[in-house]
Point group: C2
Chain length 395, copies 2
């Protein structure tokens, strides 16, 4: 029985993680749940799983949370201290599924204590990955990928030697704008950008998928997870979202991991590793391989970097190193939010990220430097949005 | 430096294995070469690689072999004893790439001595697999797959637990007759059957690919290699011959291995494992994944068992167990040869195999019983061919 702490339990990844726990009775015990603001859902989850530790984003939410509980947890915390407590013992594995940088200290604590961290928070991995993986190396903590692409690479690398890896290839669904012409990109609306064809995700991730910023962020993440150089990480469009990644070995052999586009699979893997959970519904996967009696096909296409400039920005930040990835991620988050709020146009997202990267004087990516770079990038981007209003777009 | 012995060095797999050795100077030392009848090519290979042990099929070929050598090997043997010596120390790995059952004793010896056997001889794996794997289990010898499909499964299983395997899927190119209508199958000529679209192989393997007997034999082999039940092994048509096999795990995750259809890759892997060789030409693989800038696709189709009755025969033999697979393999070899010689029609191949299976009273698959079943099946099949001439085909 694995003891699981979930930071960000009311979000998309958090709720799916609890689905996994429910679907495998006897495998997991939920010891802590933490959420930012959704008191009602957190209370409902807590009443069902009865974790001994709870945490909520801000102190004024503690009272309503406590009032909604039908059991008595050992502790209820709030803010960064609450997250740190939720990420501590007795958890065997901490699922970091918060947004932004809120869980940085909590995740760092868990890593320093040698607790396994299932890292679903892309921003944390991108901005602070260098420091987090260095600490995990020192403490012996395992950092498990949760993204389907990184889970795929991780699975393909089981039993392999680092020296034998030539390259990895992350697949991208192409998102809702895969077929949009360059000249139509100027007028993309939030509704268009959020209509993802294969994955059900939160708004931030859906938008990142439309811009393909998510794939570039994943390239940065992959570089941290698997200690690879930027030129060892490639991206292809694979619309069926069945093959999640490839690893090309130096002898010319390639391994791929495939699965139905259902986040509960990589979440379950991250929580259960080195075991695999049973009882999967393999119907979608069988259909993808023509095992249901009907022909099937998988397609692969190159990425058009003119229509998806975010990809090149990510590689640029990865190559520049230091605090550049933190700036990229923070600027993208603020610009994306502004776009969804109707404050800027679609092409402004990449333009603002590029602007932030160009204005940034990088530092080595210590945790403190990452925090400062993150705050600077948000402030700079918000100032640019405020100043530029709708005049930001460049042709 | 691995010491390599190659049994069947002048055949398709043997010569490609020597290509691998040549392409990786410093990795391998060829300590023994054995061939059945091609004295000229064996002498040429021997003069290049200077193995200390040579073996040729029959005693009258020893003198011409000796005369063609430009160095003095430690020993030249012939027949079964010659193969046994070639498969012994100082070899670290014995590549069994002979045809039929000739190398059974030699391979058994190597396994009993704990020497790694790279098993390219499908007939041996099918007929004697049960006994060979039991002996390898006892001696601790490793039996490495050489077929691209089994190499693929092996690679996908690295670092995985047996209990987590749900099923495996072997891919088949479909062979040269993939699109032939059922009613045209009666009139297939040897030339049609040997025109394989993607793999360059010997005549026996090419014909087995046309009937898809090869894929059924591979299902039996896979059952031995990976200790799987018949219902855990599936087959799909994959015309591009890029994805060689899939492993479906019980959590719904699937791993695949892909590579250009070039036998030197799995041969090199079998010889170099647990290392991977470098310097591969990955152009074909990159093209298959759209990494060369052009779209790509992989297709999968179910197998039509009416047009390819050999597949069901193989599963039947596998389920029946004991000496049934040995009978299947031997009857297929004799029937296939008769077809290529114009003695029987194409549908007679499967009909003769079925007839042999039906007439066979199985025994537990000890090595002796396998030898006897093999001889019985050949005799029975040859007698049926002789008796039936061109009247064998059933509608």
């Amino acid at each position: 029985m694995k003891r699981v702490s979930i930071l960000g339990s009311t979000g998309s990844i958090g709720t799916q993680a609890l689905d996994v726990v429910s679907a495998h009775p006897g495998e997991f015990q939920v010891t802590a749940l933490a959420a930012r603001a959704n008191v009602a859902r957190l209370a409902e989850q807590a009443n069902r799983f009865k974790p001994s530790v709870l945490s909520i984003g801000s102190p004024e939410l503690m009272e309503p949370l406590f009032a909604a509980l039908r059991y008595e947890p050992r502790s209820i915390g709030h803010g960064i201290a609450g997250l740190r407590q939720a990420a501590g013992p007795p958890a065997d594995v901490v699922l970091a599924a918060t947004d932004g940088m809120a869980a940085l200290e909590a995740v760092t604590d868990a890593i320093d204590r040698g607790i396994t961290v299932a890292l679903a928070n892309k921003e944390l991995a991108v901005a602070a990955g260098e420091a987090l993986f260095a600490r995990a190396h020192a403490s012996g903590a395992r950092i498990m990928p949760v993204d389907s692409e990184h889970s795929a690479v991780f699975q393909c690398l089981l039993g392999e030697r680092k020296i034998d890896i030539a390259r990895i290839v992350l697949t991208a669904s192409g998102g809702p704008l895969a077929d949009l012409a360059l000249e139509q990109m100027r007028d993309v609306t939030p509704a268009q950008a959020l209509a993802h064809p294969t994955w059900a995700m939160g708004a931030k991730n859906s938008l990142d998928s439309a811009t393909m910023m998510n794939k570039g962020l994943e390239a940065i993440e992959a570089s941290r997870f698997f200690d690879l150089a930027p030129e060892q990480i490639e991206i292809v469009i694979h619309r069926q979202s069945v093959a999640h990644a490839f690893v090309i070995f130096r002898d010319g052999s390639v391994k791929a991991q495939l699965a139905a586009p259902d986040m509960r699979l990589p979440i379950g893997y991250a929580l259960s590793y080195p075991q695999r959970l049973g009882g999967a519904d393999t119907a979608a996967t069988r259909a993808a391989l023509a095992l249901d009696g009907a022909p099937a096909r998988l397609t692969f296409e190159p990425v058009d970097e003119r229509r998806f400039p975010a990809v090149a920005l990510c590689y640029r930040a990865l190559r520049a190193g230091g605090t550049h990835p933190a700036v990229l991620s923070a600027a993208n988050e603020e610009a994306g939010r502004a776009f969804l709020q109707g404050k800027i146009k679609y092409p402004d997202i990449s333009a603002l990220v590029e602007r932030a990267l160009e204005a940034h004087a990088p530092n080595p990516a210590t945790l403190d430097a990452v925090r400062i770079a993150d705050a600077w990038a948000r402030a700079t981007t918000l100032a640019a949005i405020d100043k530029g209003k709708n005049a930001l777009s460049t042709p």
